[in-house]
């Protein structure tokens, strides 16, 4: 709050106003995927928090301290009070930092979103960690789990310092992340998902690891509405492979059909695993994405 009041930018990723608004927001997972450690998320089973949940019949062996004596006095039958168990949720972000994300501010937008989701996790006293995947075959850059508001600077510094470039496909990046990651919760996938690999396998692995997928596809305007015509040679920025396209202008209709089909397929894959999917443009206003789109989609509140 000191930083915001002095009008100095706390981070280059998000302005202070956005930070202030994000600190008040909470992630809304569909599933209660929490860890054993105490936290602020109610566990699915009963717990020992102060928040009443339900009654049940007393059975032999139950701790008599949880018998509701007022009910017993009135009904002359012992009932045990049940309380919600509040557990910790892990919020992990996987940022695709490959070369394909280096177009039209895609990578910057991914870092901003990773910072936003991480901030919401920290402010909700969750364990927040982050992975950045650059080069294939190398270990992803890793921000160890941290929690609490005090780790904001650590999170932002990590994200600010990472450099883009590389050829790590998102499907392999997820597998590499899961080799290291432990804990249930939410995984925020920030990528363009333009990969030749199979996306079903990493999503299955995330689901099996107890992570609810928040997938955000970030595409550049040149990918949404490519302006190409005539005979051109397209060069893949990651692999350097080329494809010769003739009369490219006439293929744009088919291109759009395929792009929308990919978007649709990603949405289905995520929903089938109780996850969520969102496709945005790198040119979409950040405020609109964070405070309008995410709320409308029910990702945060």
């Amino acid at each position: 709050m000191e930083l915001l009041s002095t009008q100095a930018q706390f981070t280059s990723l998000l302005d202070n106003d956005a930070l202030a608004r994000l600190e008040k927001m909470r992630l809304v997972p569909r599933r209660r995927l929490t860890n054993r450690s105490r936290g602020e998320h109610h566990a699915a089973k009963g717990g020992t928090s102060t928040e009443f949940a339900d009654y049940r019949d007393y059975v032999a062996g139950d701790d008599v301290r949880y018998v509701d004596w007022n009910i017993f006095a009135r009904l002359e039958r012992p009932y045990v009070k049940l309380y919600r168990h509040e557990e910790e949720m892990h919020v992990v972000s996987i940022v695709d930092a490959s070369s394909s994300m280096q177009f039209d501010g895609k990578f910057e937008r991914a870092k901003q979103l990773a910072a936003a989701f991480g901030l919401m996790g920290l402010m909700n006293v969750e364990r927040v960690s982050s992975f950045v995947c650059n080069h294939s075959g190398r270990e992803p850059l890793f921000l160890p789990p941290c929690t609490g508001r005090v780790n904001r600077r650590r999170l932002f510094d990590f994200l600010e310092k990472i450099q883009g470039g590389g050829d790590f496909p998102i499907d392999l990046a997820v597998e590499a992340v899961l080799h290291r990651h432990r804990g249930r919760g939410i995984v925020v996938l920030l990528s363009d998902f333009l990969t030749f690999g199979d996306l079903e396998r990493p999503l299955n692995m995330l689901f099996s690891a107890g992570l609810e997928v928040f997938a955000v596809q970030i595409l550049a305007p040149s990918e949404l509405d490519p302006e190409v015509a005539g005979d051109i040679r397209l060069v893949d920025c990651e692999s350097g492979h080329t494809v010769d396209v003739s009369s490219a202008g006439d293929l744009l209709g088919i291109y759009q059909e395929h792009r929308l089909a990919l978007e649709e397929e990603l949405g289905i894959l995520c929903r089938q695993r109780s996850g969520r999917f969102l496709s945005i443009s790198s040119r979409d206003p950040l405020e609109w994405v964070l405070f309008d789109l995410l709320r409308r989609k029910g990702w945060a509140r």
Binding site: F196, L224, I232, R233, D250
Partner: protein
Amino acid sequence: MTWWPFVANQWAWLFLLLVPLIIFYFLKLKRPRLEIPSLALWRSVLNDQRVNSPFQRFKRNILLLLQILLLMFVVLAAMQPFFPSGAERAQYLPILIDTSASMAAVDAEGKSRLDEVKAEVRKLIDNMLSDQRLCLIAVSSTARQMTDFSDNQRYLRDTLDRLEVSQVSSRLEDALRLTQALARTVPIETAVLYTDGNVPPEVDFELPFQLNYQQVPPAGKNIGITALNARRSDTRWDVFVRVEGTKPAPGADDAPTSATVTLLQNGKELANEMISLAGGQSQRIVFPVETAGAGMLEVRLEPQGFDALASDNVAYLDLPVGRPLAVFCPPELETFRRALQGNKEVVLYPSDEGESKAASYDLVITDRKADANLEAATFLFVGFIPDDLTKLVHMEEKIAQVIDWQRSAPLLQHVLLTDVQIADRPVSAEGIRDRDYEEAGYEILAQGRTGPLVLRKETAGRTALYLLFHTDRSTLPYRVGFPILVSNAVQIAMQHAGLSEVRGQQTGVLPPRSLKPNQVYQVEAPDKSISEARTSTDGTLAGVAAPTIGRYVIREGNTDVASIGVSLLTVTETSLATVPQLQFREMSIGASATMLKSDHPLWGVFAAIGFALLLIEWWYFQRRPGGLVVRR
């Protein structure tokens, strides 16, 4: 009809350029490189079955296809394609254009037949292919080769534009012979004749090539002077003018045409008369002219209303100076002299008063071979066989009778030779037939049982009549027909001398004129153009062309020697009658129902398509991207 519609087949090798075009297209195709985040989407796009459909394959290489099409159209244009007209295509095509007087006839729109023909021939010239050669031949009473076989369209057009009507009647034989002569140098399979159809229906020619008879639409109504002559009657001339009108086409306007006929003598009007002629009718008008001297007559016809042809509305006639006929007849031929003495228009030599001879005679009647040397235009020889016939016929002293005679011959008109007893019998030699006399230049006027009795021979400017028997040894002088025969001889001589009847001279060639020998004269035509002509050794000026109507003045230095008026005066040209079919010796050719269609060159169309393809290719290469764009 040819199935291969290309002229310059040698340029077909340019199709080989397709090979390097395709090779270079793929080898040298400079595709702009565009770095994109991932090829994943584009790979799936290109793997789409629709992209690989034949139509999409076509679209992917549409630039190549446009270039191939462009090259093909350029090569096809170089090969000079043409649209076949359906007619046989001739490489060497002589075009015979009728330029006779009737071609000046105009229709209701004022367009002459020659203009119509020019328009058709211009189409042929405009559409001529590169391997075609045209030759323009003007056809009138003669033929003129206007151009060689040429592919120079400008030269042909200029020549065609200079073509003018000759005010003469048409005659096809000369033009066809000229075409036949041209066929010896170049292969001619077909000749095209453009005419208004006003040509002689029978052509004395054996066609060695095909003739395409093209007939332009007929002109409108016409009225004109078709004959003009004068006959002497004592001290005056009776001038006869015949005016005829065209026969109207079925269903056409048949209203009579009125006209005024005016006679002028030496530029002064003598008389005029109003006439009215229905279509196809003729009318003869007689004007008496009192004159003893020479006179230049001019007859003008002024039709009221439409008249297609103007050149037949004026005619000229030159009246000679009146004088008696000079006749030589030796005293031995008493019967002839007695028959001649009753004629007031005859001066007989030797005269009874003692005048023995004149410088020249109009008629010589004699039974002496030596008198053949006298200067005269007409001879009547009696009682001997000419020297050039002595091998064909000889005389026997036996009775002969006339078997047959030409009753229409000028000498024997109204002369009855039946039962005339003749003591001399001409006998033809063994094997001699009538054809042998004709080959010797003689025409048999009266035929005996064993040989000819009366002969006629025409030579240049001289008519010789032969009575092979002597009249004194026959009963002919005692017959009524004898004075008629002598009178007929006098009439022949008078006509020859132009003393009894004169006819208007037709265009074509000026009549022979006796002038100073070996002298150069200037001839001024009606259009004021001057040409020179030289007389022969005997002083005859002949062969001077007179293609236009009007007066031709012959001058010797600054002195006018003679003035000769020539006129059209042909019934066929004035009638504008068309001939649907030309009859040749062995075949007949009908007028084509449709005008000749020439092969239409298409190289310009192909070149235009090639240029359009070039523009399309440029536009396609430069255009903004298209396709479906999905907006978010």
